[in-house]
């Protein structure tokens, strides 16, 4: 990744932040601070909290350790789910990609899980695996496994015939061909799916924590902010999750760039 790209990304982020700050200053005196919530009024809402309100709220959340603990707990779940799910997904994908008879066997299940929303599985997972860590980690792992499975499977399937022919002509057996030809050729596809999976893992965990809300977690932080309701708290929570997604995506991107450094890159 080039510095130009990084600089443009930074300009994009900061530019939007500046626009928000401007809008919040203008809106401070003009936006209503009393909102009808269906059954009652909520007084003193800050629809677009100013930077002062955000700093104040952020300081409280950091000093009380709520934010740090929440980040630690949610990140741990995401990392565990990513590791577990991608190991299972990639192994299964490689297997079904290499053995065409297994493909038909796995195909309907892939479609099934691919389009089953994470939330639909949550109640079942809670019953099966309890309210603790397992159900949440396994929920992420399920989603991650489906995405990385597809990446690995299609990666293996997409290996160009000429490479397999060349390997066979050079006398390579199946195992050598798998290790030195199929696997590296499928790697870009696998890593691209892993990158999608990292983003999806965060979507899954935050939604799971919103529904099955427990302290401390980023999902709970948002659920709590919604219950009060406290807009600055929501904003901090959203920004934190967004920042974590960006960090994870950057890590996946760097891994991707390293593993595909042999590829021809478009400028």
């Amino acid at each position: 990744m080039s510095w130009v790209r990084a600089r443009r990304a930074a300009i994009g982020l900061l530019g939007f932040a500046a626009l928000y700050l401007l809008a919040s200053e203008i809106g401070q005196s003009r936006l209503p601070d009393r909102i009808w919530m269906g059954a009652h009024y909520v007084e003193n809402v800050k629809l677009l909290p100013t930077w002062r309100a955000l700093v104040e709220e952020g300081t409280f959340l950091i000093q009380s350790n709520i934010l740090v603990d929440s980040i630690a707990v949610s990140t741990r779940r995401v990392v565990l789910g990513l590791l577990l799910g991608s190991v299972v997904g990639i192994l299964l994908g490689l297997l079904t990609g290499a053995a065409s008879r297994l493909e038909a066997l796995a195909d309907p299940w892939v479609t099934f899980f691919r389009f089953t929303p994470a939330l639909a599985l949550l109640p079942l997972y809670v019953i099966w695996f309890g309210y603790g860590e397992s159900s949440k980690v396994l929920l992420i792992a399920t989603n991650v496994a489906v995405v990385t499975f597809l990446g690995a499977h299609q990666g293996v399937r997409g290996v160009r015939r000429v490479y397999l022919d060349a390997a066979a002509a050079l006398g390579a057996d199946r195992w050598l061909t798998f290790r030195k030809v199929i696997l590296p050729a499928a790697f870009p596809s696998i890593l691209a799916s892993f990158r999608v999976a990292t983003g999806l893992a965060w979507v899954t965990i935050v939604v799971a924590e919103l529904i099955n809300a427990q302290m401390p977690s980023l999902g709970y932080l948002l659920a709590l902010a919604g219950a009060y309701p406290r807009v600055p708290n929501m904003m901090i929570g959203l920004a934190t999750i967004g920042a974590l997604v960006l960090v994870f995506d950057l890590l996946a991107l760097l891994l991707n760039a390293w593993a595909t450094r042999w590829m021809e890159r478009a400028a």
Binding site: V162, Y163, A169, A172, V181, W262, E264
Partner: protein, 258 residues
């Protein structure tokens, strides 16, 4: 040619091959060809005449639907390094360095790292890519990549080389340099070569014998022995003998416009 005690290195007898599918195509029909030990044979013919099909049959990737193919008397029933095959398409492994590409066949053979290194050093030097030994193929030109593919096959020391239009995508100058490099390699190592091309001049410059195939379904239409002395040079291309042969080959391929 008299039948010796040893069978020909490559032998196709009455070979037919048809591709099934929505447009069934009979690529080869009643093709017979014998190639002797250390012979350099160029296979020439129009697009779609089954040159590549015949080469893939010899390489062991296709089985003839009629007739038989043999290698040193034994039936061919799959790919093997003994028949070194360079595909028409670019098939250099882009995720491996030049050296790893050259050593791949040696790895398949189970050679130790030191032996692999010795052979790859020698071959990479032979094609003048020592400076690129640890580079990925994305840094190479098309011609360089093709030469790597050729020496990757040479590394395992096959007795037979099957080359499918290896220099087809190159410009004229690079092409001549590659032809000279191949001629030198062949002179040094005395392999049996079957070289597919659609360029009559290239065929005559390189081969001992030029075999012309008919349009689809391909069969042997004509065969020319090239008696030009070796090593051939730039001057050979303009000798009376060369030009006379070129005329006859062009007539056989139908390039004379008749």
């Amino acid at each position: 040619m008299t039948a010796g005690a040893t069978p020909p290195v490559l032998e196709a007898t009455d070979v037919g091959y048809g591709y099934p599918g929505p447009t069934p195509t009979q690529a080869l029909e009643g093709l017979s060809l014998e190639i002797q030990d250390s012979e350099f044979v160029a296979l020439l013919g129009p697009v779609g005449c089954g040159k590549t099909t015949l080469l893939r049959i010899f390489a062991g990737f296709l089985r003839p639907s009629k007739g038989s193919v043999r290698c040193a008397g034994a039936s061919i029933d799959g790919p093997g390094w003994q028949r070194g095959y360079v595909l028409q398409e670019e098939s250099i492994f882009p995720w491996m360095t030049v050296r790893q590409n050259v050593e791949f066949g040696l790895l398949a053979k189970g050679l130790g790292p030191d032996e692999q290194r010795k052979i790859s050093d020698e071959l990479i030097e032979l094609i003048g890519l020592t400076a690129f030994a640890e580079a990925f193929p994305k840094e190479l030109s098309t011609g360089m990549s093709k030469m790597v593919e050729v020496v990757r096959v040479l590394a395992t020391d096959p007795s037979i080389l099957l080359l499918d239009e290896p220099f087809g995508a190159l410009d004229a100058q690079t092409r001549q340099r590659m032809q000279d490099a191949l001629a030198r390699l062949w002179a040094q190592r005395r392999k049996t070569v079957l070289f597919v091309t659609h360029d009559a001049e290239e065929a005559l410059y390189l081969a001992d014998r030029v075999v012309v195939l008919s349009p689809r379904p391909g069969r042997v239409k004509a065969s020319f022995t090239v008696g030009l002395p070796r090593p051939r040079s730039f001057e050979s291309r303009f000798s009376a003998e060369f030009l006379g042969l070129k005329r006859r080959v062009w007539e056989a391929t139908g390039l004379d416009g008749m």
